[in-house]
Every structure is written in C-alpha cells, then in structure tokens.
C-alpha cells in the first residue's frame, strides 16, 4: 500500500477504556509501524475485542492518547484506511458471498488487481458465490467475511479471532493473507488464542491484563 | 407402519411408476373433461330454459356450483393426502397434497368471483359478510396459507410436511362452508341439489349441472396428473430416471 515512513501508523499512550467507571484493561502503550504485525493476547474477557473496537473508532477511549500517523486520532483522517473484522461478521445472511462482497466494495472501495471471482476462489468458496450465507457452514461464513481482506484497500487490519471456526486450509489462508499484507507495507493487529503461524519475523505482542 | 399400505399402492407410490401412470391417465382425464364440459355447457347455456324468477342470470349456476363443490372436494383430498404424507412420510402423498392446493385455490377463486357476479343482480350487492361467503373466503385464505407455507421452506419436503399439517388443521372449515346455510340464517341459497333423493331443481337444469360437475372432477384429475409429474421431476432431480428425461428433452 502506501508510505513506510518513520512515523508509526498507530501509537497508543496509556490508552484505557472504562465501562461504568471501571477500567476494562490496564493502560496500554504500543506503536505499530507500517509493515508490522502485532498480536493481541490475553485470556477470555481480558479486553481484546474491546481494544480492537476502540482502535477501529467504534468506542471512545476513556483515558490516554491515540495517534494515527503521528496526529491525534480523528475519524476523517483514517476513514477508509482501517478494516475491522469482529466476532460479528457484518455479512447479510440473506445474500450470497458475492453480493455481500460487491456491496462492501461499493462502500469501501476496492483493489484493481483482483476480481470478485478470483477472491471467492482464493478463500475456497468457488461454487458457493450465490448461495445465501444462511445455508453455509460456520467456517464457510467466516471465509466469506475474510474475502473482504483480499478485495478492500486498507492500511491497517484489525482482526478479532480470524482463525475461529476455520479448518487447517482456512488457517493457512489467513496466515498467507497476513504475510502478504505485511509484505506489501500494511499493518495488522490480530487477536487470537494460538493458531497464528507467521513467517515474517517475530511479531510484536500486546498483552492484555484485566 | 408402512406394512398397512397395500402392495399395489406401495408400488404406485414409487415416483417413476407414478410418473408413467399419471402420464397415461392424463390425456384420458383431460379428454373426458373437455367432452363433458362441452355437453354440460351446451345443455346449460342453450338447452335449459330460463328461470322463471332469475331469468338467464341463473345460468351462472353451471360454473358456480361445480366450482364451489370442487373447492371443498379438493380441500378434502388435500387433507387426506396431507395426513398420509405426515404419518407415512410418503413422497407421493406430499406431492398430491401440495399440487392440489393451487387447483383448489383456483376453484375457490372462481366460486368467489362467479358468486359475486351472480350476487350483484340477485341480491343487489357484490359482497356481504354472511356466513357462507365468509367461510368460502376463509377457505381461499387457507389455500393461500398452505401454498405460502410450502414455498416458505427451503427444503421442499419439509415445506410439504409443514403445509400438510396446516391443511389438516384447516379441514374444520370445510363442514362450516357446507353447513353454514343451515347453522346460520344467511342470504345465500340453502341446499337445492340432492343427487340421491328428490331435488328441488327441474331436470332440464339439473342434468347439465351434474355433467359440469363431472367435467370439473375430470379436469382436476388431469391437472393434478400434470402438476404431480412436474413436481416429481423437481423433487427427484438427483435420480437417474429424471436425468434421462432431462437429457432426452434437451435434444430438440
């Protein structure tokens, strides 16, 4: 994608989030450069999902500072540069994978170097393009959501447990996607309980403590 | 449980056999329907004299009453085959029940429309909310409900079973339609035709009515055969005998 400057893409200083005046996780400090991958680690309920939603701009930090490309985080500055994939896949169960993808590209833009069919093929949904998602298995639904990673342009990926429900081919697929994105200068934050097999150097680890 | 079903029925219940059987029956039934229809209409529209009270308007009777009877008869058939579909999980019974529904809905619709067309000159209104008219309208809704439920399921067989269940529940409405004129005092005519005993109707008018009744029954048989054949093709898409038919019809 774009610039691999010396300014980190994302930088957090003593970042924390409170629910009903109680901190969900201890204040965090980290910086993520373009071309880097960071793992968000922690036990169930330690606040991984909360952190990712915070970074995506769906929640407001209660304390601390968040910088995007060196400047204070602002919605408009990073609009369209962040791709967030959460526990809820954001896909319509009545539509097929293809229709869902086409809508997503209409909203978020798309890469020129790849077609929808090629994407569906790559995530292993060839032949299922027009089947309503409701009729797909758990793993197939997940793959349909992952297809967005291939098609949409974004500098930063925020992936919440992308490996859940996938078989070993699916896990390999996610690892391949991560490597490719990082190699192309993108940055990734992944939360996961194992299963990450990343071949591009030791990733940064962000540990969550409740 | 399937032991209770006689052997010949069991054999006929196999889709390819029934497909061929229905194919053989259909032209005969259709022929009978057309012939009886022609005779009945000629008798009703041309030969029968005008009614001394209603004038020529009464000639609607030759389609109204047979259709009304069919609307109830088809529902009964649907209910019985629906019951068989649920208890014995017979594919053929499912097909018969589900393919009867549109035909029955068609006859019910005809009854309602011809009834209102008759009601305007006779009662001075297209529609009143009396017991027979309302229960016939309810019958139409029941048919539509069965059809809708059938198509709402993604799995056709499951849809057929669910819709059969609804059809069975709705069977109570059939006696209500029939006896509504007895139980409630209504605008609509009471029973005038009695096939076995003494009818209140003149023979000149009665025989075309009975012939038309035969015609509608034959038409139902013919239409059901065609629809069942079509449905079997859809249901058995994975089987060889259907694939052969598909490929055979691809050549022209």
């Amino acid at each position: 994608m774009t610039a691999a400057t010396s300014v980190p893409l994302l930088e957090a200083h003593r970042l924390s989030f409170h629910r009903q005046d109680e901190p969900v996780f201890a204040p965090l400090d980290f910086r993520l450069n373009a071309g880097e991958l960071a793992l968000v680690e922690g036990d169930n309920g330690s606040g991984k999902t909360t952190l990712l939603r915070l970074l995506a701009g769906l929640l407001h930090a209660s304390e601390g500072r968040l910088l995007w490309r060196g400047a204070p985080w602002q919605r408009d500055a990073c609009a369209g540069e962040i791709l967030f994939l959460g526990h809820q896949l954001g896909q319509k169960l009545e539509l097929g994978p293809r229709e869902n993808l086409v809508f997503a590209t209409g909203l978020h833009g798309r890469r020129d170097d790849i077609t929808v069919d090629a994407v569906l093929d790559e995530v292993g949904l060839a032949g299922y393009g027009d089947e309503p998602l409701r009729r797909l298995s758990a793993g197939q639904k997940k793959r349909a959501a992952l297809a967005r990673l291939l098609l949409q342009p974004a500098a930063l990926w925020l992936l919440d447990e992308p490996y859940a429900n996938l078989d070993r081919h699916g896990i390999a697929l996610v690892n391949r996607l991560l490597e490719r994105h990082v190699a192309a200068g993108g940055a990734v934050l992944v939360s996961s309980h194992g299963a990450v097999g990343f071949h591009g150097g030791e990733p940064q680890r962000i540990r969550m403590h409740a | 449980m399937s032991k209770w079903i006689p052997l010949w029925l069991h054999k006929l219940g196999s889709p390819p056999t029934f497909y061929r059987f229905a194919g053989a029956v259909r032209p005969w039934a259709m022929g009978l329907a057309l012939l009886a229809g022609a005779i009945g209409l000629y008798g009703g529209l041309v030969l029968a004299p005008a009614d001394y009270q209603q004038g020529d308007a009464y000639r609607i009777i030759f389609i109204h009453v047979p259709s009304a009877w069919m609307s109830m008869f088809v529902y009964a058939v649907m209910g019985v085959s629906g019951f068989m579909a649920l208890v014995w999980r017979m594919k053929l019974a499912e097909v018969v029940a589900m393919e009867s529904a549109p035909i029955g809905a068609a006859f019910t619709f005809i009854t309602l429309v011809t009834g209102s067309l008759w009601g305007k000159p006779m009662w001075g209104t297209w529609w009143t909310w009396d017991a027979r008219l309302t229960s016939e309208l309810v019958l139409l809704f029941l048919y539509l409900g069965v059809i809708g439920l059938y198509h709402a399921f993604e799995d056709r067989r499951q849809g057929a079973r669910a819709a059969s269940f609804l059809a069975i529940i709705g069977v109570i409405n059939v006696p209500i339609v029939h006896y509504s004129v007895v139980w409630w005092n209504t605008l609509h005519q009471g029973s005038t035709v009695n096939v076995f005993g003494h009818s209140k109707m003149a023979w000149d008018m009665l025989w075309p009515l009975l012939v038309m009744t035969l015609a509608t029954k034959a038409y139902y048989a013919a239409s059901l055969c065609r629809r069942a054949r079509t449905d079997l093709l859809a249901l058995e898409g994975g089987k060889d005998w259907v694939r052969q038919i598909a490929e055979a019809e691809a050549t022209p």
Partner: protein, 228 residues
Amino acid sequence: MSRASLPRACAAMLRRDLLLAWRRRGDLAMPVLYAVIVVVLFPFALGPDLALLQRIAGGVVLVTVLLAMLLALDAMFASDIEDGSLEQLVLAPQPLALMLGMKILAHWLATALPLVVIAPLLAGMLHLPTTAIPALLLALLLATPLLSLLGAVLVALTAGTRRSGMLLALMLLPLCVPVVIFAAGAVAAAQEGLPWFAPVAWLGAALILCVVLAPLACAAALRIALDA
C-alpha cells in the same frame, strides 16, 4: 443424579419465560402502548363526534387488542430459535407439548394480560357505556388465550422459515374472523341491553378445546418445522 421431575420442569419453564419477559419489559410494553396509540389516534382521525365514537367503541377496542396481540405473537419463538434454546427444549426429556403449553401461558401472561387490564381504560377513552364493559372484559379474557393458543400453532409451523411475518398474518386471519365475530357480538348485545351469554359460551367452548389440543398441535408443528 436426579432426573428433572415434570412439575419442576414446568415451573422452570414458566419462571424463565416470565423472567425473560421482565428483563425485556420494554419490548413487552410495546403492544400496550400500541393499543393506546390506536385508541388515541382514532378520535383525531374521525373527528370528535361523540355518538359515532360510542357506536364504534366496542369494535375498535376489540380489534385493537387482538391486533396488538398479533404483533407480539410473531416473536413467541423467534429468539429461542435464534439462540438455539428451542433445540435444547426439543432435546429435553420432558414432553414437548407440556413445555410449549407453559411457554404459551407465559406469553399470554406477559403480553395479553396487560392488554386485557387496560381494555376498560381504552373503552372509557372511546366512551363505551359502562354497562358493556363486563361483556368486553369477559370476551377478551376468553378470546385472547384462544388467539395465543391458535397463534402458537401457526408460529410453530413457520418456525423453520425465513419469511414468517406475512405467512403468519395470512394464516391467522381466518382464525381471527370467527373470534372477532363472537366477541364483537357479545359486546354489541351488551351495549344494546340484550343477553350476551351465547356468544361468550361459544368462545369458552372453543377455548377449552384449544387448551387441550393446541399444545399438542404446536409440538407436532414445531418438530416438523425444525427438521431441516
């Protein structure tokens, strides 16, 4: 280990559904509010002609209450299907019909009873003569559980489908018609000072029949609809 006894299972079912209703009490108040809105809007839509309002009051309240019930009916099993609770219920070693009967009872208590309670208020807003109010209440007390029971069977039938809303309405209409006819007949008779026992007796007889048969039908329908 102890198998769950039947009374305990029934109690558990009833308790859970009422608890859930309480937790979602906002959603529950919806039918009531809806009925109030209808009754408030009517005078605006028709103009403030007292005699006219009085004339239609009984009918409007009846139709409104029954429609408000229909609103809530659609959701009877929806959330249970979505989160898999209904599967667990089907797999439980208890007789399904009985459990569903409890669910229907809880649903009636939570959605229809409040409507019946405010019905006199609604009737008052439309100036229904007080003499007709006992008939209205009794008719509603018989008609609402009847609709809950019949509705439950149909909702169960559409449980496996995606487009349940329309179908449900389509299938319920034929069932509503007689119920409305008898209930309205009772209210109209009472309003005119005539005896109104006969139509109410019919409703009662239908209710007794349904209390016995509907849960069984509901269980059968549900088994059919979920098997996909």
